[in-house]
């Protein structure tokens, strides 16, 4: 058994923030629209492109409508949290930095079996892929680690390392809990207290209530707006429309409104938009270097 008291969920997040701020990361805040992964935040997706160096870290709520289980299955949620770190270019000692971050949240890596297990990452919707690992602590997958190779269909100029901590799993590991609902969020308050009812209500919305016709129309509207914004050479607002398309598609998928063939077509439409925005963003950087 651990000698020291395990950190609460919020203490663990604070420790990660401290650690990566000390390393020199820009601490960002969660993005203002629904994302299915911290990778989709423009602070990762767009900043991975171009020649500029960039170090950032932030908490990102992840919204995946199909993964909800009405709060009944304590292993499946439509809303949970990632801690996202992007180091561009990847420093040579990036793995040592990562292992030190585990020590910083209270994991004695000598006592545990910490392993890097092959996991190649691909996000076809964003035209992005990379090679890396799942990190296991005593068999629990607590982090995804990826060296990006392509983003938005473009080869990256400087290879970034992306570290995505699954905050619930990391906390389950630290606190020795079997499910996220049991996690201590703050003294006397569990993760389940905070989010269980939310899981139930959102599952009802995602699976039963979300208006299919409206969403179908909205998808087309976001797509149209994205194209207009690309025309106007405004890649940052255009990228928000890509995110909205992606989330709208995920909702339609949860409603069972997307057939297998349509599915490929929707993904293709989002990917086309993501590529155009990525290209425009890079062209802009070349014309007028930011940062």
């Amino acid at each position: 058994m651990r000698a020291t008291v395990a950190p609460s969920y919020q203490e663990m997040i604070a420790a990660l923030e401290r650690y990566w701020a000390d390393y020199g990361c820009v601490l960002m805040q969660p993005y203002h629209t629904e994302l299915a992964a911290g990778t989709m935040n423009p602070a990762t997706f767009l900043r991975s492109l171009g020649p500029g160096e960039w170090k950032t870290a932030y908490v990102e709520p992840v919204i995946r409508p199909t993964d909800g289980r009405y709060g009944e299955n304590p292993f499946r949620f439509q809303h949970y949290f990632q801690y996202q770190v992007l180091l561009k270019p990847a420093p040579e000692d990036v793995l040592d930095l990562y292992f030190a971050s585990l020590e910083a949240v209270g994991i004695d890596t000598q006592k545990h079996d910490v392993r890097l297990v092959e996991d190649d990452w691909e996000q076809p919707t964003l035209g992005a892929w990379g090679l890396g690992w799942e990190v296991w602590c005593d068999g629990m997958e607590v982090t995804q680690f990826t060296y990006f190779q392509q983003v938005g269909g473009l080869e990256v100029e400087l290879v970034p390392a992306e570290i995505t901590y699954g905050l619930e799993r990391l906390a389950m590991f630290l606190q020795g809990k079997r499910t996220a609902f049991e996690l201590e969020w703050a003294p006397g308050v569990t993760w389940g207290d905070v989010y269980r009812e939310s899981e139930r209500q959102w599952s009802v919305y995602n699976f039963e209530v979300a208006p299919v016709e409206t969403l179908t129309r909205r998808f087309a509207e976001h797509e149209e707006e994205c194209r207009n914004l690309v025309e106007r050479e405004l890649p940052l607002p255009a990228y928000d429309q890509v995110l909205k398309c992606s989330h709208t598609f995920n909702l339609l998928d949860a409603r069972g409104a997307v057939s297998v063939t349509e599915r490929a077509a929707y993904i293709g439409r989002v990917r086309t938009l993501a590529r155009r925005v990525a290209q425009l963003y890079v062209e802009d950087l070349v014309a007028e270097p930011a940062l």
């Binding site: 000598q110 079996d113 890097l116 990379g130 068999g139 499910t179």
Partner: protein, 637 residues
């Protein structure tokens, strides 16, 4: 003699990359520089050579022929940087001996060539060095005895969590230095240690696929044992095992115990952590199982019916309709028809989406829960068998029928859509399906009249308005070609038999075997000669009559052949029909003497065109009668 260590230090390599590198390192190291031991593990690839020569071998660089000395010698000598009188003559050519370099001078270049010569099916870049590798390379260590090779490091690194830099004083010390730093570099030793650890826990035959992977997941493997709450034993065993193997790379033991391979840490802590993770996975799986079970197999079947099977070939509703028709055509009764109806229900199950390996098995479980007869459930369970070249076949009658129907349908669909397998691409596993069909015919003695069944499946696809492009007839050839590699007879006999009068797969195989067994015998020789002589002359000539006209036959030898053919032909075809191929050969052998006599006494190419055409037809009729035994011209004599 000097020894060499060359180590490429990496961030954790995938098991598949270790295997690729291991094979390539053996060929990248030149054998004339001594035998190399090759090490491959998650954080390092290494070569250890014990008996290096002091120098590279001298190299003979051949120049122009000696007789061109006046014209070409000066240019060649200049190019090689030597004087003309230093050129030597060997085998009529001028040339120069380039002395081998001292090894210490040659190694930097050679080792870099090895580093850059390794290729991986998936590679990446991580900095601007231009090197591509399976994962980032973080250090290079090269020692020639106690000297560090110029341009390389002289240290390795130990176990990631317990040790840091490990100096390697002498190439010979490499393995011992690493073992002292909690790294076993030799994959063979790691494998042996894991096997021994598993055997101690009572597991004599571990899952080899998992084993082959975990050897490359740990540098300092320890086999540990854990257990899970007994309430999960109420889940189907296969669900429990899949949850352990597919993601966690655990080894299921008896009851509620499991083994796993750790790479470090305190055993008690590591076991407790892994037990918690597994129980979480099992609890998640049981949630999913119960949700599926609550829906029930009939509702799952309705949901699956709406799922697309293959783009262009409709939904699982269509697929299931074809399976029903095919098991019926295969002679199946009620259990196989019911199994066909429910075969694809689990495609709508959440558990199958989670663990695709469970397809079939989990459908069978849901059918059992719904109270279907065991024959139906077992058939659903066995429909994907055999799932590997030598894997077990279905044990039940209905299972065999459903397994055959599923494979025939997959083949027909893929070939009809123009998606036949190529040398490197076989996304639907059609080769495995074809071999499976052959084994069902050969080993399980299932009657598979392939041509008719493929036509049936194709006709149904057409009725279902599938978007077909190609004729699926090639699917039949594709399956029959598998027989060539599976039967213990020369391929020519299989090729011959495929053109014979039987189309059922097992019968084609038995015909090939009968032909091969009879090939050395006298009877076969006679049948063969009758076929061969008739075929050689008539098979290549134009102008045979459409039908034999007895009135035009006048010669005695000709009439004798007509008579013999009239007697032999029905005997041959009846024997082939009855699959008594030995008798068919005996009947065909009767034709040799009359054929020989016919050729001796009758001029086939008679002046009278009608007579000539009639005689050619007679010979073709002889060939075709014997041809019920196959295309004997395939058989070399």
């Amino acid at each position: 003699m000097p020894s060499l260590l060359f180590e490429i230090g990496c961030e954790e390599l995938p098991a598949s990359a270790c295997l690729e590198a291991e094979a390539q390192l053996r060929t990248l190291w030149p054998p004339d520089l001594g035998a190399a031991r090759v090490f491959a593990g998650p954080r390092r690839l290494a070569l250890l050579v014990g008996d290096l020569p002091e120098r590279e071998a001298d190299e003979w660089v051949q120049g122009p022929p000696e007789h061109l000395r006046d014209k070409a010698a000066a240019g060649f000598a200049k190019k090689r940087g030597v004087k003309i009188d230093e050129l030597e003559v060997r085998d009529g050519f001028l040339g120069v001996v380039v002395p081998g370099r001292a090894l210490a001078d040659a190694l930097p270049e050679r080792l870099n060539a090895i580093l850059h010569g390794l290729t991986f099916s998936k590679s990446m870049r991580w900095d601007d060095s231009g090197l591509r590798f399976a994962r980032p390379v973080r250090w290079l260590c090269a020692k020639l005895d106690e000297e560090t090779v110029a341009g390389f490091g002289g240290s390795s690194f130990g176990h990631r969590q317990t040790h840091e830099e490990v100096p390697v004083p002498h190439a010979r010390d490499y393995v011992d230095s690493l073992r002292a730093a909690n790294v076993e570099p030799d994959q063979g030793e790691r494998l042996a240690a894991i096997r021994a650890g598993l055997a101690e826990l009572g597991l004599a035959e571990p899952n080899e696929r998992v084993l082959a992977e975990v050897v490359y997941l740990a540098e300092w493997p320890t086999v540990l044992e854990g257990s899970f709450d007994e309430r999960f034993l109420s889940l189907p065993r296969r669900v429990v095992e899949t949850a352990m193997e597919s993601h966690q790379r655990y080894f299921p033991l008896e009851g509620n115990r499991f083994a796993f391979v750790a790479n470090g840490g305190e055993p008690e802590t590591v076991v407790a952590g892994n037990e918690r993770v597994l129980e979480g996975r099992l609890e998640d799986a049981s949630f999913t199982f119960e949700r599926d079970a609550a829906k029930g197999i009939e509702r799952l079947a309705e949901e699956a019916a709406r799922i697309t099977f293959v783009a262009g070939a409709g939904s699982f509703r269509d697929k299931v309709a074809r399976l029903g028709a095919l098991v019926e055509a295969l002679g199946g009764g009620e259990p196989s028809r019911e199994a066909a109806r429910l075969a694809k229900a689990d495609q709508a199950a959440e558990l199958v989406r989670e663990f695709p390996d469970l397809e079939g098995h989990i459908g069978a479980e849901y059918a059992r829960l719904a109270g279907f007869p065991e024959a139906v459930c077992a058939a659903i369970d066995e429909q994907y068998l055999p799932d590997s070249a030598g894997g077990p076949l279905p044990e039940t009658e209905a299972g065999r029928l459903l397994a055959a129907a599923d494979k025939i349908d997959n083949l027909t669909v893929a070939f009809s859509l123009g998606q036949r397998p190529t040398g490197s691409r076989d996304p639907y596993g059609l080769r495995r399906a074809a071999i499976g069909l052959c084994r069902l015919a050969l080993e399980a003695k299932l009657e598979i009249d392939l041509g008719a069944l493929v036509s049936r499946a194709h006709a149904l696809l057409v009725e279902q308005a599938a978007e077909l492009r190609d004729d699926p007839a090639d699917a039949v050839d594709f399956v029959e070609e598998r027989l060539e590699g599976m039967l213990d007879v020369p391929v020519e006999f299989v090729r011959a038999a495929r053109a014979g009068g039987v189309s059922e797969l097992g019968a084609v195989a038995r015909l090939a075997e009968t032909l091969a067994a009879a090939a050395e015998g006298d009877e076969f020789e006679r049948a063969f000669v009758a076929y061969d002589r008739a075929n050689r002359l008539a098979g290549k000539s134009d102008g045979a009559a459409g039908e034999f006209d007895p009135k035009l036959a006048t010669d005695e030898a000709e009439l004798a052949l007509v008579e013999s053919l009239a007697s032999a032909s029905p005997k041959i075809s009846a024997a082939v029909e009855a699959r008594e191929f030995g008798s068919a050969i005996a009947a065909a052998a009767e034709l040799r003497a009359p054929v020989d006599r016919f050729f001796d006494e009758v001029l086939v190419m008679a002046d009278d065109a009608q007579v000539r055409a009639n005689r050619l037809r007679l010979l073709l009729d002889v060939r075709d009668a014997v041809g019920a035994l196959g295309d004997l011209s395939q058989i070399p004599r």
